[in-house]
């Protein structure tokens, strides 16, 4: 089974067979999966989807695998939280948080792309998988490779947050730290994939891998009662996710699973690594690579692979893009935690802070439905907020001391 016809070049349209290829040999454009949508339309209904398990694989006809998922069958279907408290603070009517900080098994949206990529890697017969990572992807590949019985190599910049490193090493994978930034790591991984013939999920399996991100968009629409929101704010690193959410919406419309959509897609970056928002704000589609300098390491990509296409997704949808400073992103993390009880990582802080900014600028109207994309977990990037929180008082185990503390607190309030 499976509805994949093959791959085709996104630029020149040249068709390719269903193989571990990612670049067009003629024009060097990226390859993408080509589906038989007529075939999918005949079988995939809301009713069929609703009858299935609450995982990302309930949309399996729209994922690029031939058989059943063999890796990560439990991934996805994370909560879409109606964020009334945050909505009140931001002065908007209808706000949701799509919360992949509790995705299974490694607490980020990367579990989606990895279960897709590793299922595909097994179908292709690979024994060794790997990735270039800013952290979350490495966690997901390492954990799911264990499930899959595959050997894994995780290649990362040497200076990642401790939570990201521990959260990879614990799975007994091979971690290689590289002196340099993510863009250096990514280039190295392209060379490694060529030399060793491994499945580097975000390099030579990229056309398949990226498709897993669409499930984030499908879930938002299903959870809203089979409709698309008017605005989605999305963090951007390589820029792939925002393009895949756009694709998810278009596919649901094409398949008649939702009636129509006028969703504006808004991109969020940290100011210290903002090649995509800079292009959008400068009204160009030419991405000028930068050297990232931000604490939002999970989205610190200076030369985004899908930069051009993410600008296009934003522009076509009528959305906008903004970036925020490290201080603003920390405030974003705290704001989400203190209104909705959700502890997100730096990238989520960026997204919340950008949503706030876009609402203040009037780019997102107060009376329209908005989804904020939270894609990672705050416990992995504790360094970001370590010195930005209240210092707890220490007392002896004495009621008198506690009472004194309470009186001090009351006095401070009045």
């Amino acid at each position: 089974m499976g509805f994949v016809k093959g791959l085709k070049c996104r630029e020149c349209g040249k068709p390719y067979p269903k193989e571990p290829l990612h670049v067009c040999s003629f024009c060097f454009g990226p390859l993408e999966v080509d589906y038989d949508y007529d075939g999918i339309k005949k079988v995939l209904t809301r009713k069929l989807i609703e009858s299935r398990g609450k995982t990302m694989w309930r949309y399996q006809e729209l994922l690029p695998v031939d058989g059943e998922p063999t890796v990560g069958a439990q991934v996805g279907f994370t909560p879409l939280v109606k964020a009334n408290n945050l909505a009140r603070v931001l002065g908007v009517k209808e706000l949701y948080v799509k919360n992949d900080s509790v995705n299974y098994p490694t607490f980020s949206f990367k579990d989606r792309v990895v279960s897709t990529a590793l299922t595909k890697a097994k179908e292709f017969g690979y024994k060794t998988v790997g990735c270039a990572t800013t952290g979350n992807l490495g966690n997901a590949v390492a954990a799911q490779a264990v499930q899959a019985g595959l050997e894994s190599y995780i290649i990362m910049p040497a200076d990642l947050e401790q939570g990201k490193i521990i959260g990879t090493l614990i799975y007994g994978t091979n971690v290689i730290k590289v002196r340099g930034n993510y863009d250096n790591v990514n280039k190295l991984c392209t060379e490694i994939a060529d030399k060793y013939g491994w499945a580097i999920v975000n390099v030579n399996l990229r056309p398949y891998y990226g498709e897993g991100s669409k499930t984030y968009g499908y879930e938002i629409m299903e959870q809203l009662g089979w409709k698309a929101p008017q605005h989605i704010v999305v963090p951007m690193a390589g820029g792939s996710l925002i393009t895949k959410i756009e694709k998810a919406i278009k596919e649901f419309v094409k398949l008649g699973l939702i009636d129509n959509a006028d969703t504006k897609l808004h991109g969020a970056q940290a100011s210290g690594s903002s090649p995509i928002t800079t292009a959008v704000k400068g009204e160009t589609d030419v991405i000028k690579p930068v050297k990232p300098k931000t604490i939002a390491q999970s989205i610190a990509i200076g030369n985004p692979a899908d930069g051009y296409y993410s600008v296009k997704s934003i522009n076509v949808s009528g959305g906008w893009a903004e970036d925020v400073t490290d201080d603003e992103l920390v405030e974003g993390i705290k704001l989400l935690a203190r209104t909705e009880g959700i502890f997100t990582e730096t990238a989520g802080g960026v997204t919340v802070a950008v949503a706030k900014k876009l609402i203040e600028q009037g780019k997102i109207p107060h009376d329209e439905s908005i989804v904020i994309s939270v894609t990672g977990n705050g416990l992995k990037t504790q360094e970001a907020v370590l010195n930005k929180l209240e210092v707890p008082k220490i007392i002896n185990p004495s009621l008198a001391e506690f009472v004194a503390l309470m009186e001090e607190k009351m006095a401070a309030v009045h």
Binding site: E11, V23, F28, N181, D183, K187, V290, K291, D306
Partner: protein, 96 residues
């Protein structure tokens, strides 16, 4: 006016395996036309139907991306070095 052009592996079938070739011209546009004249089939690999450099091909003139200069109209001078580099989905990092 002769410049040295570095040819990426996938295009070396057109240059009989040469990884560097000498080409005449006063601008990047001239260089592309003369590459085509010397190595037939080169232009359609490098340029789209509108004659612009393909989106996933990077042209560097002495290590500077021509998109941040004057693109095809960027002037070149004797002894300059040009590199043609496929972008390979983020696999390239001129910023570092």
């Amino acid at each position: 006016m002769s410049v040295t052009v570095r040819i990426p592996t996938p295009l070396r079938t057109l240059t009989k395996g040469a990884d560097e070739v000498k080409v005449e011209g006063k601008s990047i546009k001239d260089i592309v036309e003369n590459l085509e004249a010397n190595y037939k089939g080169m232009k359609e690999r490098i340029c789209d139907n509108d004659g612009q450099i393909r989106r996933f091909i990077n042209f560097y003139l002495n290590d500077e991306d021509i998109r941040f200069m004057s693109n095809l109209n960027t002037p070149v001078k004797d002894g300059d070095h040009i590199s043609i580099v496929p972008a390979i989905a983020g696999g390239n990092s001129p910023a570092t």
